[in-house]
Symmetry: none
Subunit: 401 residues, 2 copies
Amino acid sequence: MIALGQIKDIARPTPSKIVLLVIDGLGGLPHPKTGMTELETAKTPNLDRLAKEGICGIMDPVSPGIIPGSAPGHLALFGYDPLRFVVGRGVLEALGIDFELKERDVAARGNFCTVDGRGLITDRRAGRISSQRCTELCGLLSGLNIKNTRLFVSPVKEHRFVVVFRGEGLSSELSDSDPQKEGLAPKSVIALSPEAARAASIANEFIAKAKAALADQYPTNMVLLRGFAHYPDFPKMSEVFGLKPAAIASYPMYRGLAKVVGMEPLATGATIEEEFFALVDHYNSYDYFFLHVKEADIAGEDGDFDRKVRVIEEVDRALPRLIALDPDVIIVTADHSTPAVLKGHSWHPVPFLLRSQWCRPDGVEEFSERSCSLGALGRFPATDVMPLALANALKLGKFGA
Amino acid sequence: MIALGQIKDIARPTPSKIVLLVIDGLGGLPHPKTGMTELETAKTPNLDRLAKEGICGIMDPVSPGIIPGSAPGHLALFGYDPLRFVVGRGVLEALGIDFELKERDVAARGNFCTVDGRGLITDRRAGRISSQRCTELCGLLSGLNIKNTRLFVSPVKEHRFVVVFRGEGLSSELSDSDPQKEGLAPKSVIALSPEAARAASIANEFIAKAKAALADQYPTNMVLLRGFAHYPDFPKMSEVFGLKPAAIASYPMYRGLAKVVGMEPLATGATIEEEFFALVDHYNSYDYFFLHVKEADIAGEDGDFDRKVRVIEEVDRALPRLIALDPDVIIVTADHSTPAVLKGHSWHPVPFLLRSQWCRPDGVEEFSERSCSLGALGRFPATDVMPLALANALKLGKFGA
């Protein structure tokens, strides 16, 4: 793929507008009874119209056969090679709860867990305690005193929390304390570079003090930490692509991922319709919009084929608002497949459509996994999406003389 | 893609012959009235026959979404990764006028421009003076005396010229003097590495002396330089692919690009028919021919849809001469698209056909953007073309045991 530095040299700001609509987990698998996927089952006149007027293809979010997490799936769509631009687990958890990470913070994902009398882990999730209980325990740990360090302990969900260490010169090159297995003792956090020695001692001090504070809180009598990470220092979309980008996403993690690459998160209501309203409201102020619809993925994860069909139809009904704005480039695709029959993310490539005045339509008449795989874009990696979007918006100059 | 060093290990010379026909700017976009591209509109029985007997695909010259310049578009077809093998602007201009660059020469692209009393640029192109006037001014500057350096100043077209500095140990790691904007003063040339200090002082000396010499030549009272570069030291096709390659191109720049990778430029007349005659004349002396047809690109750049159609038909009429030679491999494709409706190079992938006895035909019956996108080669990068050509000419051994 072309490097970000090479794109930067040819990108030029113009007034033309790009809208990237990501239907999270859109790709599916056939229903055993009908032989049709969720998207093939849904009635989608507006998506079909865009497919017909546009050019289609089938896209690998990360790499063929690879099941994308939310971060790599989105970063690729934003133009960042997901195999190189990695967001640490701790940061991802912090983004997911709208925690405002500072540049030098070190964040880690935490679990409340259960240890026995010998200190061996008997339940890595402490019986999946309630989120309410998690919040109480985080309050308890927040009061711990760590030398020269500000400590934040914030609940995520059930047994999961985020811990953030804020201090001078803390490295995040630290090993996990979580052995990822029951029957073992939690490990000491080890500095993976000489510079990380102080951060390691702070993390171990926190774990020791947390253990003491939780001693009589059985079954939540210990913590496990993993995925120590700094807020990623990625080049911003404004610098690399010359864009003024905005994100419309009702779920915090996607707003957070968008902020990592320099998008402005816009205020929006929680429903699909409200997200499209937000697009209309802010349309004049930006030239690139990432619009994220989460509900299709949730239905897929729940294994609810019919609900996923209904979500897709709801997006289709909202589309005329977007189409009426007549952006220079409209892209509709997904960050990964979430087939209801698999109840989770999958490796299957996702359907992709791009409509612009200059797209060279390919005769595909319907937006579906099967028809897109016959489109003129062929099968391609998600990292091609941003160059294609910029090109079709006439925002790229010639490469080389 | 496979590295040149890896290809080198498996390439073996054979008497089989490869002809690569590049119809410059062939790819197009639909005419608003008919919905058909230039190639779809043209009557091309011979191209269609080759497509039918061959295998087809749709090819990205540089990378999806990227608008190729002439150099990257061709280098990729010759088997050189265009994101790595870069020909500097100055060298390309020199190639375009058949200037014989020596290995250590430093070439730059020059503009005659206009500056006001305060030295600020008021017209970067000095009102696009005539080529005749440019030639006179180049004559004037050629007489300047630069210490320890031979100086060549050659006209290109209108306000454009090439300057070449020939001396010992000159680096080309130099910044542009052209600020690429009016209202600013020309910049000093800066050495981008310590070794380039002497070259920078020579370039600045030239600029100062040119300014003095042009003082009473308003509106051409200053020069701007950019794209300082050495002649590229690329591996030659004979070494890497074991070929004895020749180029038939009536335009100097394409002959020059072919020479950069070690092709022998053959004498040819200027017309399409004469180029095909040149192929016939030299057919026995080489095993690889690059035949370049420029006129389709010019018609596209001029926005002349109908003329582009006629050029394609003219190529089709000349094709029987090539087909009669019965080369082991015939490839017909383009270095980039130049849709008449866009009046310039574009990012759209280009149609591709390869005919050989061993190609595994795919059922495509017509040579066009749409039909090629349904071909068995799928969508692929231009850097695959040379391995495919060699393989179909049975010039490659096994990779690995």
